[in-house]
Symmetry: C2
Subunit: 245 residues, 2 copies
DNA sequence: CGTAGTTACGTACACCGTACGTAGTGCGGT
DNA sequence: ACCGCACTACGTACGGTGTACGTAACTACG
């Protein structure tokens, strides 16, 4: 009889392998890496157990010896790429600068793995690398003199904002995948509908806004920086200009 | 020959019905309402074309006369519940107050339809009710004297923050659905893992934080209010206290 | 040295979205 | 008036999904 009872468990606490039986042909990491490879190349929806098994060259059901459920595979994937954060030895002492760097790293990782932002909203957990991340953030925030709960709020908001921003950017591109027409056509049709509606006169403010800034090729990086800066500002005690120094 | 060519189109521009042939037994709205009902009751993953058809008492494929693709159904669902915003006749003139009300309404709708936050990150579009929402927000922001692009950023950030907050809250509950054990067991196991890791001594800052605020049953509503207020503060010109009045 | 636990993995089931074909219906044009 | 055709409803079928279960081979432990 294979398999184990469906008892509540967390993938991180489950030992990778036991000592009995034949030597496993793969490691949990092998499977996760293959899944990440597929998701990077063909999108998260292309990650099926059969596809991962094919990538590794093994039978589909063999994967279930390493990963009990597919959702766990998602958690493992998120944790794996969360290992890409590169933190220095020590926080710089400037919490604003440190948090800005963290936000940029998060964004970079989400660009490197365009499925991350979406999956994180579902499969976020206190994985090992998530704890490492949290610990680093808290270390950076030591100079910030606010209650602990507020620090967690700050981290959550920076994180959430980065995720929401990137997820929103990528939703359009991801949606185009598997559509019977191209992304350009999709955007053209949607843009045409928007313009048609706005031209109808029912949305004067929106019309005014679109008229004022007709073709504003705003720099996404710049907006991102501004957004994060604004967010951090909102946590800095306004009447204490020495805090950030 | 039924069906129509797979040309780029937007569901909002597609006419609901044409005049020929037999009278349709349902309306697009009927289908969307059924889908919303199912999603409210059993989660978004329970919304399948077969299930919706069963709810309506018609054949599965009949739905495709009303909705060309399932993804369009998602968009229609988001738009439908976006119709639940109740706006007064005119903005109050206090943009901070108005935006706070909007954020609260968004949150209430997302609680009423626990699938919304997740689906919106994928199926957000310039639907009719989204335009209505945007127009109302811009109307509220008329007293705020900043460039138009910044107003859009503000709206996007408030929206994104509400979504991220609620989605994060609901991810745990949604994840528990369809799990072979209960949500309480899930949380217990995850909490135990977290505590075990933190007790290991590798995460001193995190340990300190958890020790300081041991059982802090913080009020989610209060945190939400604070977060939104903070966000709005960050857009208010700091050296002009008259703006908000 | 048996045996129990583990590995690999083929088969099977329930479910999914949806392409396609068919039959019936009722409006528009002649 | 009536014919044709666009449109309706919908059954069947295909290729996909996650995964429960059974079987056979293998190895470390009592």
């Amino acid at each position: 009889m294979a398999g184990r009872a469906a008892e509540p468990e967390v993938i991180w606490a489950r030992p990778e392998r036991a000592g009995r039986g034949p030597k496993p042909a793969y490691s949990r990491r092998d499977i996760v890496d293959a899944a990440v490879r597929i998701a990077d190349a063909d999108g998260i929806d292309a990650v099926s157990m059969r596809r991962v098994a094919a990538e590794l060259g093994c039978g589909t059901m063999s994967l279930y010896n390493y990963v009990p459920r597919k959702e766990d595979l998602y958690e493992l994937m998120v944790d794996a790429v969360s290992g890409e954060y590169a933190f220095p030895e020590e926080p710089s002492g400037d919490w604003r600068a440190d948090m800005t760097v963290i936000a940029h790293q998060s964004r970079a990782i989400m660009y490197r793995h365009p499925w991350l932002a979406r999956v994180m909203t579902t499969a976020y957990a206190f994985s090992p690398n998530a704890l490492r991340f949290l610990e680093w953030c808290l270390g950076c925030l030591v100079p910030l003199d606010v209650p602990p709960g507020l620090k967690m709020q700050l981290i959550a908001m920076v994180n959430g904002t980065v995720m929401a921003t990137v997820a929103n950017e990528q939703a359009i591109a991801e949606r185009a995948r598997g559509l019977p027409w191209s992304e350009a056509e999709e955007q053209a049709v949607r843009g045409a509908y928007l313009m048609g509606q706005v031209a109808g006169g029912r949305y004067p403010h929106l019309a005014g806004l679109l008229a004022e800034a007709p073709a504003a090729p705003v720099d996404a990086d710049e907006i991102f920086d501004m957004t994060i800066a604004r967010l951090l500002d909102s946590f800095a005690p306004p009447e204490d200009p020495l805090t950030a120094a």
